[in-house]
Subunit: 716 residues, 2 copies
Amino acid sequence: MRKITFLLFISCILLSQLTFAQNKKLTMEDAIVGQCRQLYPQYMNGTWQPESHNFIQQKTGILTSKNADTGEEKTILNLTELNQSLADVNQDTLHRMPRISWIDNKRVYFQTRTNAYTFDIISKTIGSSFTFEKGDANFDRAISSQKNIAVTNANSLYIVTPGERIEVAKSDSDDLVYGQSVSRREFGISKGTFWAPNETLLAYYINDNSDVKQYPLVDITKREAEVEMIRYPMAGMSSEHISLGVYNVATQKTIYIEDKDKDSEKYLTNIAWGPESKYIYIQVLNRGQNHMKLNQYDATTGKLVKTLFEEKHDKYVEPSNPIVFIPNNNEKFIYQTRKDGFNHIYLYNISGKLENQLTKGNWEVTNVLGFDNDNKYIYYQSTEASPLEQQTYRVNIKKAKIEQITRAPGTHSTKITYDGLYAFDSYSSTEVPRVAQFIDIKKLKSEILLEADNPLTDYNIGEMTIETIKAGDGETDLYYRLIKPADFDPNKKYPAVIYVYGGPHAQLITNSWLGGARMWQYYMSQNGYVMLTVDNRGSANRGLKFENVIHRQCGKNEMEDQLKGVELLKSLGYVDMDRIGVHGWSYGGFMTTSLITNYPEIFKVAVAGGPVIDWKYYEIMYGERYMDTPDENPEGYKSTSLLPMASKLKGDLLIIHGYIDPVVVIQNSLSFIRECISNNIPIDYFVYPRAEHNVRGKDRIHLMQKVTDYFEEKLK
Amino acid sequence: MRKITFLLFISCILLSQLTFAQNKKLTMEDAIVGQCRQLYPQYMNGTWQPESHNFIQQKTGILTSKNADTGEEKTILNLTELNQSLADVNQDTLHRMPRISWIDNKRVYFQTRTNAYTFDIISKTIGSSFTFEKGDANFDRAISSQKNIAVTNANSLYIVTPGERIEVAKSDSDDLVYGQSVSRREFGISKGTFWAPNETLLAYYINDNSDVKQYPLVDITKREAEVEMIRYPMAGMSSEHISLGVYNVATQKTIYIEDKDKDSEKYLTNIAWGPESKYIYIQVLNRGQNHMKLNQYDATTGKLVKTLFEEKHDKYVEPSNPIVFIPNNNEKFIYQTRKDGFNHIYLYNISGKLENQLTKGNWEVTNVLGFDNDNKYIYYQSTEASPLEQQTYRVNIKKAKIEQITRAPGTHSTKITYDGLYAFDSYSSTEVPRVAQFIDIKKLKSEILLEADNPLTDYNIGEMTIETIKAGDGETDLYYRLIKPADFDPNKKYPAVIYVYGGPHAQLITNSWLGGARMWQYYMSQNGYVMLTVDNRGSANRGLKFENVIHRQCGKNEMEDQLKGVELLKSLGYVDMDRIGVHGWSYGGFMTTSLITNYPEIFKVAVAGGPVIDWKYYEIMYGERYMDTPDENPEGYKSTSLLPMASKLKGDLLIIHGYIDPVVVIQNSLSFIRECISNNIPIDYFVYPRAEHNVRGKDRIHLMQKVTDYFEEKLK
């Protein structure tokens, strides 16, 4: 059954084409802003009310509920009611409805700039009130059974209760930071505080930054420019020293997780509490990132209880998901790993013994959604149907039997009710602009909530196809997306622009609306360009081996694969091979600069945004995973560095960088510019003075106009 | 006589043309590096040996002497002799001859990286030795009668003697800086220590910077970029607090010059000692820069003795020269001021009474060279012959009678013997690549040392003329320099580029080799451009009124005058008025950006380097002189700011900035870029990552190629 779907789907994709024969032209504003608005249909996000079949959406001033059983739709809260309840307890009323989140079936939580409240959705009354201070951030709630909200302020950590503000850990400098995310948010780290299930113990990261060098970012909007120093540990340099504290709200005491190897700059990743609030589980990874230990610690003493198991790889391991205990089960948990080559779900018991591999195959689990209240199934998304798709499945925990919940080809986003009876599903595909539906999971019957019209019907844009070519290794299938020029004439010769990212963790080509392409690529098709994108080896959702070929040689295999894209362009017959351009940002900026300097005879014009120029300028956590340190891999750093390639540049290269980019620091591009100057090589440059790693908002129109103008001037 | 010379000369200039009908083409390297080398002939710099008629030149490894009476030329020192003398006193020998300077007729001084020495030129023996420490800078010698060298190190001040290092004033932070130049080297300030004639008292600046905001400059050459904070007081913000200490080497005590008005942020300019080492004279200027007091202070007590006289102006006064006592005369000194509208020399006595105005006329004294040993004459340079020339004169102190020493039209650089009998003179003009000569001042007879050949004979460059047009006021004569395209054909239409500076203190058009133009302008003439420069009102050497029209409205009159240049281009008939470009740097970058945004219908392409974008981002000392503070002159700041003009930009503008420019900080151009982005206006930008206010050395070839390419692409 699954096989059939897969094959069916593939043939769909191979034939899929966006063909609209109308005359409207995308403006640059359409191309940039339209992608998030009218030209890319969405269904308003929502959430299942806990322990119910009510799907809740927050609209302007109201909260609506739609029942999946009855179809009944009603308003369950409005701003007037909310304000009345605030006034009743002498609190400031609000101008607009704040974001509402659910605590349980009856209670919600919301937050204003200065306060937070629990609120009874039935009686329409405020429960608890919390008062914050200016600068409070990283709010982390434990309010199901207790009334504790962890907050950070500057570098310190506090717990706010309805009557009290408790100082958990105080620091006057960013040499030492409490309770914030660490390791530059790699390894799935997205926060720095972790409430125990009992909601009275708070585990928190302690980040000793004192050895980490600071990078200066300059704010020119001040009366006189000012510098902000950020901690930016570059590859091979001194790194963060991370430890974990556990604060007990009842005793007001902190204990520290045992660390016998304090100076090793290891990573404490994927913090998880055991169900009884007695143990903390940490996936401890060495700085070399090739040896992970799943450690169990006693939350009362901080002592290491045991290492449940270890995982090693001669390239790297990348733990990215905390273990998750089966609800109401103190013995068993699930763990995700790519140890068999693809990310899958494994069932372990507390002694560290593998009980079962729940999912298996040459595809990847991409997102675990949760359990139902019988703890019979785990709901998750995977690429089982196709590497280009995200479909939703459930696996029976006991039998490891998989059932597919979503069926329509495409990229699904799904939310499951507490009891696993219903799914809310929103998807698009190359053929489907947007469908939103309720799915009755047992009957696999759906109720359509939205079936969006094609918003591009009136536009004359180029035809898009997604197919595969062989990678540089001659074996691996790579997906590519080709957009022909609008008003395509096979007898003409067209310039082509390759849009590239190429790095890990990203996939540019998906079976979703527009094929995953940014609308700008269709804009360019209107200007007469062939637009090509190839998801080379190294990119996401194709398994470990597909990704880790980049190890110690970022760019090498990726470039080989992109050259296969160039061969494809040549084979088409209608591409003018003297007019090949390339554009990319971030890793894609690195790829772009690599391609035009390594293959000056192929690439004539390039626009590289926020490029890594030498991996020694990139940060430790991401950079050393793929490149090791400059000392460990001098050859790799040397052969991938673009600094010596500046002198090889022949074509037109425009580099663009955010002046305050805290991710790929501007030292990268400025160093390359400096090399060009030293070698008397013409080069173009532009900076966005207030942009960080990406140019956002309205400024993006200016950016993409600049990119477009460069190709129009130099390539056309 | 002077009149005749003047008229004669003017006719020369008006007809002067560089006409070479050969075929060699300047390369960009010729154009940039050639200006300092083979294409712009120089005569090796030299100096008169004190109390002699020997002209000393320092050549590779030797010191030569040429006697003006006999013509005898000999080597008076070589490296071997110097090294022998060093070895004799157990000092390290040298690989190359250090720069030799004269103490008196027999003794010289030289310095290595770690040491300094006095040396007897007759006996060829080392006299005194001084040892420095790493980081010593701002060496200031008092070694005629004493053996003291003042040095600064970091923010502190020391005196080094042959056996000792004395700490004069120590500071651990640049909040407080001792002994360095202040006020950003405006008002002629070029150093921070001032030895009394007796060489035992040392006056020194104390710069309390603690209220001055720091500007961040980022050094990307470090392993990880680092920030250097410089004190940069922007217009209207808190400024330096300057005071003066006087250290007595004998007593090792410091006294401080009295300051009853400590918080007024006044300027202590043009520090001068009285001849008996009893008094210090300071030209004290208010922060408003419109009221100067010449104050006499007791050097023993620091007390104000009296104010000799005051000078006020409703726009600004700009004291730029210390008073100079007539040698061997404790009563009389000379003082330079533009109070009658032009810079002239005045003779005052110590009671503050004006004895005589020694020079007078609608021309400016530009450089006082000194006195002869009879104290009969003052030698100086002025623009008396023409605003385009620098000629050398002497004035009889008693009779105020002027005699002209140099005669040939052009720009002279002259050095007079101690007794006023001989001058060494080096000059060039539009007709004369370089002549160097001895002049017998009494007989006005010269002995030619060099008469350089025209190094451009073989090059096919455009014809250059210097003439005048009327300024925007319809009255004032402005000089302009026009370079026609090479192979000029009056029936063709050519694009034109205006090269502009436009600010005070600079004059681009002079009667010197190439007419004062940079060689790049001739390079552009070879590429088919008409190159025009107009020295607008505001520029140097034309008197106070000519300059101070810019007060409170920088750019306004300057632009009007540049538009007269555009009218001239139109009148020529062979300029394509749809292809007018403009280029300038610094004030010229401000002018360039002002012109293309204010006159988009005229200027199609512009390249602005290191531009001031809003005078609020410029520093106090220079900026407030011309613009007052933003609070005092809100209208002026508003009407000259280019930030609101970004939205008016229509043509192609490339802005270039040194990434670590400490003069016009990059906040200027980045703020303009930001405005362009906000208004979705296309703009081009480039930075030189290691350049300060100017792009120097080999990088300049890259720079001017970039500038050229921009005009070639957009204007041609």
